[in-house]
Symmetry: C2
Subunit: 173 residues, 2 copies
């Protein structure tokens, strides 16, 4: 096991700023490209991160602390965000994500010293899950979606790189 | 074709700052994990980006401008950086990458208005390659290595996420 709450927090704290540095002020061509029908562009991924921040990670942690395994936490709808406001700018989305994440991190830090990482809750699909597994997943979920944004943008130049495509594995994913 | 020099520059300009935001001050556990023997950790990826910045992208562009297809550009050794200084901190590496990248971007901007994107050079392996393909590859190479760093770090928690692994495709790459 590699999980360590302090190290997990390092990533959770960095994600909004990293995405802001990467996406703030980018051209629409980069922000709105995707991997084909039914796939997300960078801006939609940020909406998804906002939604998960509002209803998934920290709320589920609070749910475990309150209910233990007595009842399963409500399922997370991974597509809710797609009903969201299309007119919101990427800068507004990034700011919102940063704000909600900072609030959740503060709440996590407040309970950090007494948090039992081995405590279990009940996932509607998986059954018993531990607090440390939930927080590990929160971290990896951030990383997954950073990688997704980067991959989607890389593919935009899939044809433009010419023969170099054979060196660039990301374009074949 | 999606390539556009202004948009390509947007990415090239953001990469060092994005990596700095993501990696500066991170614990060694994150900076030194890798995907197994013979694979790179985050710190080694930054060394590779420095090396490519010094000897690959802009130098090759200058080589094309000078030589056209008359002689192939010298091959780029993708592993040179691994002989480098192991004691250099990640913060020093990030600063160096940022500095060399900024210098190359400035040089690119100086020649931007007269740059013929269709000009061809000779790649030692691929044969004729265009200036716009070289610059597109420079961009995608950045994105590839950001994605690599993020993936390597995600895998560190491969077991820690417990049953959630089935939702996290990045862990199976």
């Amino acid at each position: 096991m590699n999980f360590n709450l302090r190290e997990a927090l390092e990533i959770l704290e960095r994600t909004p700023q990293t995405l802001e540095m990467f996406l703030f002020g980018l051209s629409d061509g980069w922000l709105h490209c995707n991997e084909g029908e039914g796939t997300w562009n960078a801006s939609e991924v940020v909406e998804h991160l906002i939604e998960a921040e509002k209803t998934n990670w920290f709320p589920r942690l609070e749910f475990i602390l309150q209910e233990g395994e007595s009842k399963p936490f409500p399922p997370f709808d991974r597509f809710t965000h797609l009903d969201g406001e299309k007119e919101t700018s990427i800068e507004q989305k990034l700011a919102l994500f940063k704000e909600i994440r900072a609030r959740n991190i503060n709440k996590l830090k407040e309970i950090e010293s007494t948090l039992n990482l081995e405590l279990t809750g009940s996932h509607p699909e998986f059954g018993a899950v531990k607090v440390r597994e939930l927080i590990s997943t929160w971290v990896v979920h951030d990383l997954t979606h950073i990688a997704q944004i980067v991959r989607v943008m890389a593919k935009r130049y899939g044809k433009d790189v010419g023969p170099w495509i054979s060196y660039l594995g990301i374009l074949n994913k």
